[in-house]
């Protein structure tokens, strides 16, 4: 009984770490631009696929992963420049469609380059499961969770202690005011996308050895990341992380104790419940519209 619960717990926090990183990416971009980036999941996919590609070229694993993250960050930056900036002050619905279009485009691109098949990445430190009280956890899962924690700490330092980080925070609170004090807000937006992409890419690269990666895994991860971000409160970094882990654990619990068939429905039932009863999420603030 305990070992079963522990097993669900392990799978829950592993997925939770992935969702947390994805959710952070959503919150970052939402804060910087008010845009929900439906292509966020594709950054996760790119991280994994590019890492596999570099690894297949013979590069040592750590280098392949780092380059994959960098390449994904570049993809994020390009997305902002090519698709978001030209749209200017577009309304919500067109913006949503643009990012969905970008998502489809990226999937298509990867499909063309690397085909539709599933790819595997070598685990960082072997694949012998570690046994704890009858439950097993893969070393790669520990890498994923560990990476998640490291990234969150890095981000916290970045936003609180560096100039660029504070500039990004300022832009998210009030773009006009930020511009007036000399912050180059267009630049900040592009950096937000790049950073967001790096987050997704890192999550993708690190979890690729656990779940195979393919051109279409981004969709679900992206959607679940959004659910996690909304659960925690869109725009809140802490909320994104908390939301991610809650979602991961809830999913595992549903798979284990309710029905494994409907496990994937958990995030969507959850999002509807959240949006109806608690749309601001756990850490989101209350907003009033001035008329």
């Amino acid at each position: 009984m305990l070992s079963q619960a522990l097993q669900f717990f392990f799978s829950g926090i592993t997925n939770g770490a992935i969702y947390a990183l994805s959710a952070l990416g959503f919150s970052l971009i939402y804060n910087a631009s008010g845009v929900i980036n439906f292509a966020q999941g594709e950054f996760f996919m790119l991280g994994g696929m590019i890492a596999v590609a570099f690894s297949a070229l013979g590069l040592p694993l750590p280098l392949a992963v780092l380059l994959a993250i960098a390449a994904t960050a570049l993809a994020g930056w390009l997305l902002e420049k090519v698709a978001i900036e030209p749209a200017g002050d577009a309304e919500v619905v067109p913006l949503i469609i643009i990012t969905i279009g970008a998502s489809i485009f990226l999937q298509g691109l990867v499909q063309v380059i690397w085909g539709k098949g599933q790819k595997a990445l070598k685990p960082f430190s072997g694949d012998t499961p570690i046994l704890v009280n009858g439950a097993s956890i893969l070393p790669q899962s520990l890498w994923t969770i560990g990476l998640g924690i490291v990234i969150v700490l890095l981000l916290w330092w970045f936003f609180n202690s560096t100039r660029l980080g504070k500039a990004m925070l300022a832009t998210s609170h009030n773009r006009l005011a930020a511009q007036l004090v000399g912050i180059h807000t267009r630049h900040v937006l592009a950096v937000s996308f790049a950073l967001s992409a790096a987050l997704g890419g890192a999550a993708g690269a690190v979890s690729a050895p656990i779940t195979f990666t393919s051109y279409d895994i981004g969709i679900m991860v992206g959607l679940k990341g959004f659910v996690a971000a909304t659960l925690g409160g869109l725009g809140s970094g802490v909320g994104a992380v908390v939301g991610g882990f809650i979602l991961g654990l809830l999913e595992a619990a549903t798979a284990g104790y309710v029905s494994s068939q409907y496990k994937d429905a958990t995030p969507f039932v959850l999002i509807i419940l959240i949006l109806i009863f608690m749309p601001r999420g756990i850490f989101g603030g209350k907003a009033t519209e001035r008329v």
Binding site: P86, A87, F105, Q107, G108, L275, I276
Partner: protein, 312 residues
């Protein structure tokens, strides 16, 4: 709206419908025409929600799928006649969409998008998982459509039937647009504060048009199921929902004929792209992005604006 503006567009579409068979060489082209007409029914209804009322739904394929499966099940398992099954499905979808409409439509923008997305995916998952009823991922076969004892037997017969359905959808949509209800919807889009202080119960109106557009989708779903003779859960899936929204956004928001144009483009596009072997997804995504970036109001309104400006 003057008489010409109101019925002129329909006349043009009707003329095209009547003359088109002269240009269609074989059944393959009739097939595409039928699909365009049926997609147009959904698009026209969805346009009322997205283009006129300014809301969004990323899960509308779910309603089309429910209509399709309801028709399939009622005719196959319970021996209902196909028109009756279609109407019953529309009613059922109407009730369901009404139940979810009030709580969901309190949301706006991205939140509404995600809620409708979630709804669509849940419908999809139920259709996949309840395989004893629906055949799951393998789908299920559907009988032909019979009206007054006559079964629609081939693409040509379906062409006329589907075109009539499309024209009916256009007529109803135009009637809604040019009416107090239509103005109320556009006011909700233009300024909710102004609409509500003018006496419009914005929540109720949003819900009503959501239900109407869901019923349009259900009808199209039922007809598609009978036409193709087969239905699978993919029809209710996320990608199909995106295709439907794309038809509205690309063809023209707040333009019934724009939605028809969008349906035509989005139906023909995959056929054209098939020559790009493997590149279809990429090209589709690129076209989607570029169209919205450079033509945010969609093709038809942009064309209309260009024509208006070039007139002295």
């Amino acid at each position: 709206m003057s008489g010409w503006q109101r019925y002129g567009g329909m006349l043009v579409v009707a003329i095209i419908v009547v003359l088109l068979p002269l240009a269609l060489p074989n059944n393959y082209y009739y097939d595409i025409a039928v699909r365009i007409a049926l997609n147009a029914v959904v698009a026209v209804g969805l346009n009322l929600l997205i283009g006129y009322a300014g809301q969004i739904s990323l899960g509308h394929a779910g309603f089309a799928g429910l209509g399709a499966y309801a028709s399939a099940l009622l005719t196959a398992r319970y021996g209902w006649s196909s028109p009756l099954a279609m109407l019953a499905a529309m009613l059922g979808v109407g009730v369901l969409s009404f139940i979810v409409a009030r709580p969901i439509l309190r949301l706006r923008g991205h939140y509404l998008a995600m809620a409708t997305l979630g709804l669509g995916i849940i419908i999809y998952m139920v259709l996949v998982n309840e395989s004893s009823l629906t055949g799951g991922n393998d789908g299920m076969g559907v009988s032909g459509f019979s009206l007054f004892g006559l079964t629609l037997a081939n693409e040509r017969q379906w062409y006329w039937f589907a075109s009539i359905a499309m024209l009916a959808a256009i007529l109803i949509a135009q009637n809604i647009v040019d009416s107090p209800v239509g103005r109320a919807l556009r006011a909700v889009h233009g300024s909710e504060a102004a609409a509500s202080t003018a006496g419009i119960d914005t929540a109720r109106f949003k819900a009503r048009i959501f239900v109407v557009s869901a019923m349009f989708a259900s009808a199209a779903g039922s007809l598609s199921a009978h036409y193709v003779g087969f239905i699978s859960p993919q029809y209710a899936g996320f990608f199909h929902s995106i295709e439907l929204v794309t038809m509205v956004v690309v063809g023209g928001m707040a333009s019934t004929y724009g939605a028809v144009l969008g349906a035509a483009i989005l139906t023909i596009l995959p056929q054209l792209l098939s020559r790009f072997e493997g590149f279809e997804t990429m090209v589709f995504g690129a076209i989607l992005m570029l169209t919205i970036i450079f033509l945010p109001r969609g093709l038809l309104p942009t064309l209309a604006a260009v024509l208006r400006r070039s007139r002295p």
